[in-house]
Symmetry: C2
Subunit: 203 residues, 2 copies
């Protein structure tokens, strides 16, 4: 074998999968602040030296976990109605954030992103992927004439999620189905009124 060869096959991949899965479990249980690499190693039945060597820090591990999460895509809705599509999106986000396991995981990775540039980069990429998956809902609605031309599709999708994350992280209000429906409705109304058109609104 030549010098410098990488060996991703078999064991290495198995170790990565086990460690990322264990990391998610640990994050759900203790949050990012309580993430202990030795604990992750023992959950994954892997030597703690391995975890420290390959990922280095808790933030590095979370960044890799996010990269992995970004690869699992969730298909968008396609009901033919913008309001219905966005409601489906809002409900999906709402269920995710309200779920004890998923919600805790998302809180943890968001915290990690505020603590480490690489984790932040990975988080932004994760959401960029998710938003790009759902943007066609808005683009198609614009083509159907439901929205003004020049509407920023990604911004509309972000507007649906934003109030739900605000509740989760900041106000502490419940992230329930009513909040999801309200967010979807508000996004549609604002988009129809032209609040998300590209021009920079001269007062």
């Amino acid at each position: 074998m030549t010098v410098g060869t990488i060996r991703p096959g078999g064991r290495t991949a198995r170790v990565r999968a086990a460690v990322l899965s264990a990391a998610a479990d640990a994050l759900v249980e203790h949050g990012f602040a309580g993430l202990d690499l030795a604990d992750v190693a023992s959950r994954a039945e892997v030597g703690k030296t391995t975890v420290y060597r390959r990922w280095g820090t808790t933030a590095g591990l979370v960044a890799d976990l996010l990269t992995d999460m970004a690869e699992q895509s969730s298909p968008r809705a396609e009901t033919g109605s913008l309001l219905e599509d966005l409601r489906a999106n809002a409900r999906l986000v709402q269920r995710t954030l309200a779920d004890p396991r998923q919600g805790a995981l998302f809180r943890a990775v968001i915290v990690a992103a505020t603590c480490d540039p690489r984790a932040a980069e990975a988080l932004h990429r994760f959401y960029a992927v998710r938003i790009a998956e759902w943007a066609p809902c808005v683009e198609e609605a614009a083509q159907r004439g439901e929205l003004p031309a020049g509407t920023d599709a990604a911004e509309v999708i972000r507007a649906v999620s934003a109030p739900l994350y605000y509740r989760l992280l900041i106000s502490g209000d419940p992230v329930d189905a009513a909040a999801a429906d309200c967010a979807a409705e508000a996004a549609v109304a604002a988009a129809q009124a032209g609040a998300y058109t590209a021009d920079s609104d001269p007062t």
Copy 2:
């Protein structure tokens, strides 16, 4: 002197002020994850034993800092136009979050809130106060007939901030004046369309 007397006067108050100020500085520099009570103590020129005894944990210290922050109120705008008022609010939030010092501080306290129930409670109270200060803008607009009856004023105010916090914490997009204006405009449009009326939207 009787047994069990509390002594808030003089030294105690001075220590609290110095420690809270030092805590804010430390949070700005190292974030919540890197908050070290010994470091805070030395910045405040106070014995580290004192900090550990009175606040116990980093989260407890942040909770107290938030309680202190909630007491400093920022007056709302009163321009006579809902859009102008909300734009003023959005710009205020935007400037705060975009400011290197304030933005870092807010990120840090939000992180703390996701890690500790008391800090979360303090954060929710902080925002409840801020939202209550600005809600009259919306209520007066409703009385002027600019909005449908039954509009949830607090929800409208939250809708203005939510996209800005989403950018700060999640998407990583810039928190600039354009985003602020967009958020204010969208909130007004959605409110006028009745997206924030109390009824639970039977679709």
